[in-house]
C-alpha cells in the first residue's frame, strides 16, 4: 500500500510538517527528516525552493530565497535523498512550483522521485485540468500521487471534480490567503471545515495554511483527518535551530 494511504489508516490526527529543502543550511534535509521522524510526525512535505513562490507568504519565501543562496537545486535535493529510504519510513511529499520541474523534465523528475522513494507531489501552480490531460498517466506510471488544493472559494462542483481525480489527500487551504502562521481560526473557517466534512468526499483532507500551534492544530483537525504546518515550523527553525525540533512537535501535540 502507498505510504500516504497507510498514514491515513492510522488512528488519531495526522500531523504533516513542511520545510524548505536547503534551509537553514544547505545539507539540513536529512537531519530535519530524521528529527521529524523521531519526534513522531506522520508525514513530511519537502519544499523545492523557487525564486518566485507566488502562493507563499514571507516566511516560506524567505526560506526559499535562503535555500537558493545556499546553493540548493533540484538535482542536489535528489542527491540528498538518494539513500533516504534506508532510515526514513515516513510518507514523503515533494512540494514545488511547476517551472523548476518543467526544466528538470517532468518525466525525469518523476523517475527520480520514484527512485529515491518520494510518495507524492504537490504542485500548486499546475492546474488540475492540465495535470489530468497531460501528466496524470506519467505520474501513475511512477506510482506517484499528486495532491490538489481547495480553498473556501472553491465551488462545490469543482471540489467534487478534484475529489474524483485525487489520490492521497485533498489539501484544504484554511482561508483565502497565502501561506503564513495564524494565531486562531475564526467562525468562517470553522464553518468552511464543517461544510467540507459534510460533503463526505472519497479523498481524505488535510488542512494547511495558518496552522501554528496546538489550538489551531486542534481546530483544523476537528473535522479533517489532519493538518500541515509550514511557516510556523520554519520560523521555529530560524529561531531555535534543527536540534530543538522535538520541542516544536511536542508543543503542537500537547
Amino acid at each position: 500500500m502507498q505510504r500516504i494511504d497507510q498514514a491515513f489508516q492510522k488512528p488519531g490526527k495526522l500531523l504533516s510538517i513542511y520545510f524548505s529543502a536547503g534551509h537553514p543550511q544547505r545539507d539540513d534535509t536529512l537531519p530535519i527528516l530524521t528529527a521529524l521522524q523521531d519526534a513522531g510526525v506522520d508525514m513530511v512535505e519537502i519544499g523545492l525552493p523557487f525564486s518566485d513562490p507566488l502562493a507563499d507568504g514571507p516566511t516560506i519565501q524567505e526560506s526559499a530565497t535562503q535555500a537558493l543562496k545556499n546553493g540548493m537545486t533540484t538535482a542536489r535535493l535528489f542527491d540528498q535523498l538518494r539513500n533516504v529510504r534506508q532510515t526514513i519510513h515516513l510518507p514523503l511529499v515533494l512540494m514545488g512550483y511547476f517551472n523548476p520541474i518543467l526544466q528538470y523534465g517532468v518525466e525525469a523528475f518523476c523517475r527520480e522521485c520514484a527512485a529515491v522513494g518520494i510518495d507524492g507531489l504537490i504542485i500548486p501552480d499546475l492546474p488540475v485540468d492540465v495535470y489530468h490531460e497531460q501528466y496524470q498517466s506519467l505520474f501513475e506510471q511512477y506510482g506517484l500521487y499528486n495532491m490538489f488544493l481547495i480553498s473556501p472559494q472553491t465551488s462545490e462542483a469543482r471540489i467534487l471534480y478534484i475529489d474524483s481525480v485525487s489520490n492521497g489527500f485533498i489539501y484544504m487551504v484554511s482561508s483565502a490567503s497565502v501561506t503564513g502562521a495564524q494565531k486562531t481560526f475564526g467562525d468562517a473557517q470553522q464553518a468552511y471545515f464543517e461544510r467540507i466534512a459534510k460533503m463526505e468526499l472519497q479523498t481524505p483532507q488535510l488542512v494547511g495554511f495558518g496552522i501554528s500551534n496546538a489550538a489551531t492544530f486542534q481546530a483544523a483537525t476537528t473535522h479533517a483527518k489532519g493538518a500541515i504546518i509550514g511557516s510556523a515550523f520554519i520560523q521555529f527553525l530560524n529561531e531555535k535551530g534543527v536540534d530543538r525540533i522535538p520541542e516544536f512537535i511536542e508543543q503542537i501535540r500537547s
Binding site: 525564486s51 502562493a55 517551472n99 518543467l102 483565502a176
Partner: protein, 393 residues
Amino acid sequence: MSYHVNEKGYYGDFGGAYIPEMLYPNVQELQQQYKRITATAEFKKSFDDLLKDYVGRPTPLYFAQRLSEKYQTKLYLKREDLCHTGAHKVNNTIGQILLAKALGKNRIIAETGAGQHGVATATVCALMGIQCVVYMGAVDIQRQAPNVARMKMLGAEVRPAQSGSKTLKDATNEAIRDWINNPVDTHYIIGSVVGPHPYPDMVARFQSVISEEIQQQLREKEGRDYPDHLIACVGGGSNAAGAYYHYLDNPKVNIIAVEAAGIGIDTGASAATSVLGKEGIIHGSKTLLMQTPDGQIIEPYSISAGLDYPGVGPMHAHLFRSGRAEFIAATDDEAMTAGLTLSQLEGIIPAIETAHAFAILEHRPFQPDEVVVINLSGRGDKDLNTYIDYFKL
C-alpha cells in the same frame, strides 16, 4: 493558421492559466465574463467615450518627414505618447476599470515597474472613485520617485515589494498574493499581455484600438489599410500587441518586435527574452522565460525600466517561435542615441522603451517606397533624468 488566442487560452504552445487553485474562481470568472461584458453596447459606449474624451483618442498617425529622409523610407509614427498619462498603458486600464465595475469589484490592485502602468491605474481609479493599491518593487520605488509621487497624488497607495529582487517581477508576485488574500472584492489590473488566460487576450483587445486606428489612418493617407512593416518595442509586449492586433493574420504585414539587449545580449546584462529565454512558466503563463538551468527566474537588465521583464507575453512567444514576427534586439546605447535622434529630427522626446523601436532603423534598411509604421508608445518626460545622466545634458 491564426495568431490569436484559442478557446483554451493558448497561442500555439504558449499561454494557459498556471495558477494556484486559490485564484481559480477569480480567473474563471474573468474567463467566462470578459468577452460577454466587453461586447455589450453599454460597455462599448463607455469605453469609446472615455478613450475619445478622456484619453484623447484617436491618437495621430504622423508622417515623420525628416526621419523618413534620414532613413530613406516612409515612416509613420503612431502617437501613443499623446495619450493622457503619456503612454498607451491607459487604453488597458480604462477597459479593465470598466470591466471591474461591471463585475461589481470595489478594490483595484496593480503591479508596476517604472510606474507608467501604476500611474495609468491610479488615474482610472481616481476617475471612478475606486480604492487603488499599487505594488512596486522597493528598488523601483527608489529609482522612479516622480511616478511614485504621481500615484500618491492620484490617491493610490503604493506598497513596496520587498521580496526577491524587489523589482517588477516581485511586484507582480505581490499583487498576485494580494489577489489570493482578497478574492471577492478585488480586481487585479495587469498592465501587460502577460499573466494567466484571459489576461493576455483581454489586454491585447483593449490595446487593439491602436491597430484599428492605424488601419483607418493608413487608408486615408496611403489608400490601403496596412503597412509593409510594423515596428514596436516589446517588454511584456502590450503596446506591441495593440499595434499588431488587427494585422496578426495579414501576411502582407511584416511584424517587427524590438527587445532590449541591455549592455549586449551575451553580457549577462540583457532583457532579450526571445534569444535568452527558454519555455517556462511565469505569473501563470507558459511562455519564453529567462531562467537558470534549474528553473529559477533570472532578473533581466535594461536601461529602460519598462522592458526589463524576464518573460514576454505568450502571444509574442508564439510570434517568435512560429517565425511570424522578426525579432531584433537594441542595446542601451543604440536606444539612447535613437531617442536623441528622434528628439532632434522630429521634436519628439520618446520614452526609452519606445526609443528601442527606433534604434533598429540604423541597421535594418527598408525600401524607399515601403510604408513603415512605428508605434511611438510613450513620451520621455519620465526618463529625463536618465537622458540627462547619459548625455551629460
